[in-house]
């Protein structure tokens, strides 16, 4: 193979780690420095428009409703999320973003699109399409591996430990 496998693997891993790290640093230096990366993704999962149920949001994030409840408690306290009882079915609690929550989520999404824009910019339209195809292939392959290893529990554990590490760093910082 013209490409060294171990070098390719290192690059992939480096992208994964650096995207997380850059996001975290951008968050800690930005307007919403009291939010961890995991919390920001919780806001994204709730989304800026319709109020969501806890179950829906937990499924989106691949976590249990128990874990989500703890996260939402914290986000309510920080003023990013509000809980409301469903008008029709009073047993159902819906969560939605406050104005600050919407702002945080939109700024964060902007960060992603700017990152993508800067990465794509130097390439011709044809090259961009090729790059998109290759990145999609990489994503699908890794997704299929995730399925192969049964449930997403092990991936979840990794994601959880990354999230708790970043929280710990936040708390110490």
């Amino acid at each position: 193979m013209p490409v060294e496998e171990h070098e390719f693997a290192e690059r992939l891993l480096s992208i994964y780690e650096n995207v997380l790290l850059t996001e975290e640093q951008a968050l800690s230096k930005g307007y919403f420095s009291d939010l961890s990366n995991a919390e920001m993704h919780t806001l994204d999962a709730i989304g800026p428009y319709e109020a969501r149920t806890m179950t829906e949001t937990a499924t989106n994030l691949g976590i249990t409703t128990g874990t989500l409840t703890v996260a939402i408690d914290r986000l309510v306290k920080k003023g990013y999320v509000v809980r409301k009882r469903d008008e029709v079915d009073r047993r159902v609690v819906r969560i939605s973003l406050t104005k600050n929550g919407k702002l945080a989520s939109r700024i964060h999404n902007k960060f992603h699109t700017v990152l993508a824009k800067r990465i794509l910019e130097p390439y011709t339209p044809e090259e961009q399409e090729l790059l998109m195809r290759m990145v999609t292939d990489i994503d699908s392959y890794i997704e299929s591996q995730k399925q192969r290893y049964g449930s997403s529990d092990s991936i979840r554990k990794t994601a959880k430990s990354v999230a708790s590490d970043s929280r710990r760093r936040d708390d110490n910082g």
């Binding site: 307007y31 428009y49 104005k99 702002l103 939109r106 700024i107 902007k110 699109t113």
Partner: protein, 105 residues
């Protein structure tokens, strides 16, 4: 001027145009109010041709504050793609008008 003899279709168009102008005036009023509150400047300093980033010097957080407020007031969704071409105060008014006309129909 009395236009009762005009072609009814033409009159309808005129009324629609009038509605559009009225609606855009309302949006501009709201936007000027939001901008004066946010930037602590006088409403007379804000004209429709002002560029929001270059002349008014608003940053991305302030832009999204406007966007979130306008979304709420006009029950519309303003995705980032729609915001890409926005440069002047008038562009924002046009966009809000277009998006709210879409949701009504």
């Amino acid at each position: 001027m009395d236009d009762s003899n005009a072609d009814p279709r033409e009159r309808m168009n005129n009324e629609e145009e009038l509605d559009e102008i009225k609606m855009k005036d309302l949006i501009l009023d709201d936007l000027v109010k939001m901008l004066t509150d946010m930037l602590d400047i006088s409403p007379v300093d804000i004209t429709p041709d002002l560029r929001i980033f270059d002349d008014l010097d608003i940053d991305s957080l302030q832009l999204y504050e406007l966007v979130v407020d306008l979304e709420e007031v006009y029950s519309i969704r303003m995705p980032d793609e729609a915001l890409d071409g926005v440069k002047t105060v008038d562009d924002v008014v046009d966009l809000v008008y277009r998006l709210s006309a879409q949701t009504e129909h």
